[in-house]
Subunit: 762 residues, 2 copies
């Protein structure tokens, strides 16, 4: 592995064709509005996954499925590989630079996470022995999200040379995951002039219009020939530049790109705007753009950095996670969300999963202004009508949010997931509670969230069935978070969360009636809630059946779970793992092995409602059965292990996620990064090691430190404050970097955190 | 509906473009080796499903499935639409005959089931007002299964005319259900001469070679011009014949076709053979071929006819079923089997399902020589090695037969079916028991069947799990016959049949040890059976967990079934039916509604092992919950209803299947016919109304007669006898048409059936 460890950088030292996709993935970057895999600017004819992604621009690709079921969606949405705007074809002394075929040495590619810039350098040899040092640098501006800039430098080391540079835009791009191998884009217009070129493409079916324009500038040479290039009926435009380069000199091409779409501008304006912005970027110049960009990242790091002293790999790992989460979602547009692979690959189609509410929300709550997290909530509120349509399609009432979505419609079609993994509704309501409690901003809950609570409660009323013999409500035919069980009855997690969500609905309505009369009346009118209906919510919540085994003192994952052959996962042969690549599906299903936290997920979400003993008993029972074949699993185990006092276990689980992609733990980094599970890693440190909880609006900490670390610290944004918490062998230091003094609970004792540095003995 | 009722014929009176596919389906015919939908010989540009099928010639079409699981097959096999050999292009006075566009009247298409011949006639009008009467006739020889013959006659009614006739072979044919729209055939060779033409095509991937050749003869005219036609690079060959037809005269073209494949001949011989056979057919002449063909059908009807007096629609319906079953499977080749649609359409891909053993076997046992049924058993024996491979793929031992197959490999991929509907193994072992008991031929069981019993028993040993708490063996994660439940635990039917199959294995080994020492020793050596292993079979059989509800006195379809909201299907709104076209899959799964007999299937198979009271209690509980959305369901209900004494119920269920396709009950006859369920209809009369059972080798009858029928009779082939049983209001008549006198049990009393006519009071 030629990946080097560094505090702030991801470094590839030396080139490998075999590992090119891997490095492209981990060198991905983004600015919340667009993202790029770490592809080369110049041609590359070797194995590569080209990836240029524009947030929110997707294609509803007709799904291939053998056996259709009533209610299935027609399509599976795909995140789109869009106009290739980074491209620069480079010829030196007539030879095209293509690292799959040409001679070169000293290749290095590095992603500087602090400044969010991708740099490459290598030395190119032409057949006659002339050497040229190539340095490239590019960034996607976090300050102006329409802008990208590239600097491409060539130094003649031992001879004069002739260069031909062709910066271009190419619209003839495909998705590797296209079901029918077709192109998702059609050409609209383009033009190439010697100073600015643009290309306007439109997606098929969804009709998203995207325009990319670029300007350029060259330094280090006097001679210059240029001509415009327009190929493939306009889908490829650019400028061919020919210069001489004397020995010892460096020629530098700057390419300034603007990418606009009609998600933000009028359709017929986007090409004009992209050209104007590309021109303005050129006028500002590379350094000025870069400074503004770096400033934005400095802000982000000031709120979200985690430092780990004594473990450089862990330091690199956690920063990589924080970095990628911020590349994926900048939080200023409530129509956007967090795809499981972000802007780093095509897998999972870029849709929104429950990952957002169950994992990512914690990260954005803890490290950014509340508006950012709130926009994730607005996203679901905006999809409420579609969730009602989705429920109606399945023959139920109220709202069932989709398992995977781009625009509020369901776009996934395994029946056992789409139709049965209905606990997702509760992740969404739980996120509202979580947001409200963390930020103390009740306005979302009272004005919008209440609708989500009521409509999902209505879904539950129509989805449960009353068992008169046992006088309980049951939920039959579901898939819990553990997707290694399908179509089970009374999944404890689902039933327990439904019980909670119904109660929270009832309680919120009561609080509104008592304290927010006008909002209450509006809600009652808007939603047409009758007292009978609230009574029904209450009744179901109270009589919800919760399977348990009294003898073992555990909650039962589902009815009949103990009829399985229960053996710890430790006894599995290594050659059987991962199960999903070695066992047939029926074998997995009838086994006792658990893909990801299920009962334990409930103990984490409703953390306050269970005793420590209950947590310990269930953890001891379920953790040995869990194979963690979802990247979302270890973090919950780590947090609960920490709470239970199993510190080594907590650290062991942390290690499974911390460098998941960098160390290619699941052998799938080639496809892109596990963006949403990165939030889990963050949670592991903050809620696991440091024991962060919010109870009745108050911050609780209960930190410990993994043995092998010397010290760690993390920033937390909490109610207009920025707090930096440092944990070392002997002390806890809480630095109030911004905001007013406040009380927290540290190791179960109240302490007042004052301005500046507050130090406590561990 | 312009379908006329007739004892022996299926008659379409008048043409309907909208109903063309429907009539093409019900006019299908076959000779066990090939089959044809009722397509027109001349061109037809309207909506049509062209269907020419050659038994055993299939294509493994790569499946489209959204989400792959370990162990899934790569392909779904497709029955192939093959060389169009019936085609005759016809022009009269320059106008091409195409019933979708030309003017005609008095259309009639009829399938004579007694003689297995398809006839059509209509009157064609040319634009000038000249009228021509067209009569066609064709059959697929049951005597020589490579041969087909067509007679095409044109009579000039009111004017002279010019005819152009072009009999042809066309290899450019497609399947409608091709996943990737590609053609499954490639061209090998062809030639057209004035006397004989042939076309040799080969399937892609499977490399089946098929050659069709034809000769022809024309009568009723003296003038004649002819030229050979070779189009589309040889894929279309034929002879264009021009004749003058004087007013009042009839011109008749006879087309003699031979179709050969390298399933039966050497690849490089098939074209020579098909040409020779076509020449021989011409030499024999139409009438001679037809007589031999009719003779074969007379034999079949003598063994299998059912007559119903007093209900002409029922009479037509039952003969249609018997006819189609014989068209589909003639039983002389153990490599062939019975696809759910036979030779009548593409749906279900023509593969073999458990339908064969669970339903069809009864029919062939009861109406044909034992060799025919035995060949169905040989088919599975020949696939035993593949069944072992299939089991190994899923991580189990022994043999798991595929759910759908062409060559022994699994070719279906819904996980809940492929991986979990494992009860199919028991249908196969049960069929062996059934065959042995009916025919008294033990040789299959002792020489081959024992291997099937032992290897499937080994599968069960590796598939059950021992529950130490309850000291029972369980089978988790299965789908029972009721496919409206998926992934359930302890499906009673499955568990009960496994218990039976294991016991039968042990018992058979014991009998072999005692009475067939040499065969026993061979089996022990061949299979490597240890006493421990037999002991294990016995232990699992004895300790098999069988869910039941003591209070209700019923066997429980699966664990937790009574937790469902149990409401009779009568209360469903008609607009909800069929559920599978109106309800989402999860809603169906969590409902109590049953697709087809499940517990009741077990009570039918293991009929002897349950009391009448048990049957009645279970019937009363499950029958009201059953929606019969499988065509295989009503027959089992009818038989059990008859046994329980619910005669009206028995008749009601009979009506659901008897004319399923003719009356287009499920609105899907267009796709082809429900061949395998036709055997169920036969069973309804024979085992239901007449109460046929074989107990300890003895034939038991317990007949009743549906009120609305005057009389019914059926033939039975039983141990070298042909018996005709007639049931009228007052009497039972048993006519021993062939074979020795024997004892049967009639209404629980022993009677001796002597040669000729034996009459008993009811």
């Amino acid at each position: 592995m030629n990946l080097l460890i560094d505090d702030w950088k991801i470094i590839q030292d030396g080139f490998s064709k075999q590992k090119n996709r891997f490095f492209e993935s981990i060198m991905s970057s983004g600015n919340g509005r667009m993202g790029l895999r770490g592809n080369h600017e110049e041609d590359y004819s070797g194995d590569t996954l080209k990836g240029t992604y524009i947030a929110g621009v997707y294609y509803p690709d007709k799904t291939r499925v053998g056996w259709w079921k009533i209610g299935y969606p027609e399509y599976f949405a795909k995140v789109l590989n869009a106009i290739d705007f980074i491209g620069i074809k480079v010829k030196i002394n007539g030879e095209n630079i293509d690292l799959a075929t040409c001679r070169f040495s000293d290749y290095r590619r590095e992603l500087d996470m602090k400044e969010s810039v991708l740099r490459r350098n290598f030395t190119f040899f032409d057949p006659s022995g002339s050497k040229y040092e190539i340095k490239t640098e590019r960034f996607l501006s976090y300050h102006e999200s329409d802008i990208a800039a590239i600097k491409y430098s060539i130094k003649a080391l031992n001879n004069d040379g002739e260069l031909e540079l062709l910066p271009f835009l190419n619209g003839d791009v495909r998705n590797e995951d296209a079901n029918y191998q077709e192109k998702f884009w059609e050409y609209v217009s383009s033009s190439a002039t010697e100073s600015v070129s643009y290309l306007h493409m439109k997606t098929l079916k969804t009709n998203y219009n995207v325009s990319a324009a670029f300007t350029w500038n060259i330094t280090g040479t006097d001679t210059l020939e240029k001509e415009t290039v327009n190929l493939n009926n306009g889908e490829f435009v650019g400028t061919r530049i020919k210069v001489n380069i004397p020995e010892g000199r460096t020629v530098t091409l700057e390419k300034y790109i603007s990418v606009t779409s009609d998600r933000y501008y009028e359709t017929n304006e986007i090409s004009k705007i992209s050209q104007r912005k590309a021109q303005e970027a050129l006028d500002k110049g590379y350094n000025s753009l870069f400074d503004a960009h770096k400033g934005k990242w400095a802000d982000i790091w000031s709120m979200s950095d985690i430092t780990i002293i004594g473990d450089a790999a862990a330091q690199q790992g956690i920063r990589f996670n924080i970095y990628q989460l911020n590349c994926t979602y900048s939080g200023d547009d409530p129509q956007l969300n967090i795809g499981p692979k972000g802007f780093t690959g095509e897998k999972y189609g870029g849709g929104t999963y429950w990952d957002t509410e169950a994992y990512c929300l914690y990260f954005y709550l803890g490290t950014r202004k509340p508006e950012i997290a709130r926009n994730l909530l607005e996203y679901r509120y905006n999809h409420l009508e579609k969730a009602k349509e989705n429920s109606a399609k399945l023959g139920t009432r109220g709202a069932l949010y989709p398992m995977v979505t781009m625009n509020g419609e369901e776009c996934h079609n395994e029946w056992e997931i789409t139709f049965e993994e209905i606990h997702r509704n509760c992740a969404i309501t739980y996120a509202i509670k979580n947001y409200t409690e963390y930020t103390n901003d009740e306005s979302y809950l009272l004005e919008k969230g209440i609708d989500v609570f009521v409509e999902t409660s209505r879904y539950w009323v129509s989805r449960v069935n009353y068992n008169s013999k046992k006088n309980v409500y049951m939920i039959l035919g579901v898939t819990g978070p553990n997707e290694y069980e399908n179509n089970v009855n009374n999944n404890w997690y689902t039933n327990r969360m439904v019980k909670w969500s119904l109660k929270y609905t009832v309680d919120t309505l009561k609080i509104m009636e008592e304290n927010h009369k006008p909002l209450y009346k509006e809600a009652i009118d808007r939603l047409g809630i009758s007292p009978d209906e609230t009574e029904k919510f209450k009744e179901i919540s109270e009589k919800m059946y919760l399977p348990e085994d009294k003898e073992l003192g555990i909650f039962l994952q589902q009815d009949g779970f103990l009829d399985k052959d229960i053996k710890p996962a430790d006894l599995l042969k290594p050659s059987d793992l991962p199960l999903n690549q070695n066992w047939s599906w029926d074998r997995i299903l009838r086994s006792c092995y658990i893909k990801q936290a299920d009962v334990l997920q409930g103990l984490w979400f409703l953390n306050d409602e269970f005793t420590k003993e209950e947590k310990i008993r269930n953890f001891k029972f379920y953790e040995p059965l869990t194979v963690h074949e979802s990247s979302l699993s270890p973090c919950v185990h780590s947090i609960l292990a920490a709470e239970a006092g199993y510190r080594e276990k907590a650290y062991e689980h942390y290690l499974r996620t911390a460098r998941l992609d960098l160390d290619n733990y699941n052998n799938d980094t080639d496809d892109g990064l596990h963006i949403t599970s990165m939030a889990g890693t963050w949670m592991t440190i903050v809620s696991g090691f440091a024991g962060l909880r919010i109870k009745k609006g108050k911050l609780h900490l209960n930190p410990f430190k993994p043995e092998s670390w010397k010290e760690y610290s993390f920033c937390l944004v909490f109610r207009d404050r920025i707090i930096k918490i440092t944990v070392c062998d002997t002390d806890i230091t809480i630095n109030l970097e911004k905001g007013d003094p406040f009380d927290i609970t540290l190791y179960e004792e109240n302490v007042t955190v004052r301005e500046g540095r507050n130090q406590y003995r561990r």
